[in-house]
Symmetry: C2
Subunit: 203 residues, 2 copies
DNA sequence: ATTCTAAACGGACTGCGGTCCGCTTAATAT
DNA sequence: ATATTAAGCGGACCGCAGTCCGTTTAGAAT
């Protein structure tokens, strides 16, 4: 169950979804997961998905809106889990630790996330700057970072600074470092630690 | 004349370009500039360009390779000018000033660049992570930042740190802040100054 | 001037994401 | 059971980036 996007079917004023629609949604999600597992994220096309799920193409787009929307849906469980961890989970990622340590842990968690779901995350952000920067989860990360910066005493435009730090953790960028340049995850994490440590020194 | 990409026609071992090819290139570049001026970068399609330049579509792609390639070509003069300034120009952007000041000036220059050419820069990076992160100009900026970090005494993996700082100055990101969120350029510059100042404090 | 050839050309073609709109059907009211 | 209706459905269709390949032509060699 996702925290930020309200899944269709969740009755939040809206009526529940029709039975055939529900069945098709399950079929589509299953087919999508299978295709991704078989061919990799980038090779999956919307026609292919429609065909595999034995459903019209219009149905696919009615459900997910776009390719990016499909990928976001596929990510939503992992995303919700990640959100839960840094909002409610145990320190140092969750509340209870000093802000610098939480920030370091946040970056490390993000790196692990990208190692596991990077391709999906990249595909979910493709072809829409709007979606890329203002999708609810992204906004939430930024607010989280901003809050930690404030807690650490950084009062000079923490929002923009949070955006900069967010840019460092951008899935596409990190994925590119990891895959194309063969940078080890630990090295990324060390660099992140160095960055935020220097940034928060004596505030 | 661009510093990094060797323009077709520059005889670097290769023979000069055929006269009809040269004529078509000029026609295409002129048409492209006109179309961008008339309709905006995002509305210009490759078919439109071929039609306007009275040239086959194949010719357009033979010339520029892709839409991104076209945009890079349109940018190349401005890009070369920018490179000249931070490599050979007067301080604080060019050599002669202390590294922190050069870094600050670099960010400010980048922001001005994005204000003026942001849409082109965004279009030049679209649809190709490879191109986006490893295009020669991008690599050059990163090396420049890395060098300044080293000069300032930052010896802990300056290459990755330079990548992070580069992410902050990414055209798409800055453009999004400027346009979608109405952030003033001065505010972006101030945030950049704050970021690098803190980062280089007592090294 | 003629021949030769590699470069350049053009436009039909493909594959993809995304839209449109007439048809079907699940759920509800009677 | 029957009628009603709005949500859901499907696949033809569109626009775009990018490819392919048969044809043309500039420029060199003779």
């Amino acid at each position: 169950m996702s925290l930020i996007p309200i899944r269709p079917g969740s009755p939040f004023g809206t009526q529940p979804e029709r039975s055939d629609a529900a069945r098709n949604r399950e079929r589509l999600l299953q087919a999508a997961r299978d295709l991704v597992a078989e061919h990799g994220v980038d090779a999956v096309t919307m026609d292919m998905l429609a065909c595999r799920a034995d459903v019209g193409k219009g149905t696919v787009f009615r459900r997910f809106g776009s390719r990016a929307g499909l990928m976001m849906t596929l990510l939503s469980d992992a995303e919700a889990e990640f959100q839960r961890e840094f909002i409610f989970g145990p320190p140092p990622l969750g509340p209870g630790a000093p802000p610098l340590e939480r920030l370091i842990a946040f970056g490390e968690a993000r790196i692990k996330y990208v190692e596991e779901y990077g391709e999906l995350a990249r595909a979910a952000a493709e072809h829409s700057p709007q979606n890329r920067h203002d999708a609810p989860p992204v906004v939430l990360w930024h607010r989280h970072i901003e809050m930690l910066l404030r807690e650490a005493g950084l009062d000079r435009d923490p929002w923009l600074l949070a955006l900069s730090l967010g840019a460092t953790l951008d899935p596409e960028r990190m994925l590119h470092s990891l895959r194309a340049h063969g940078v080890a995850p630990e090295r990324l994490a060390a660099s992140w630690r160095e960055l935020v440590t220097r940034l928060l020194k004596d505030c």
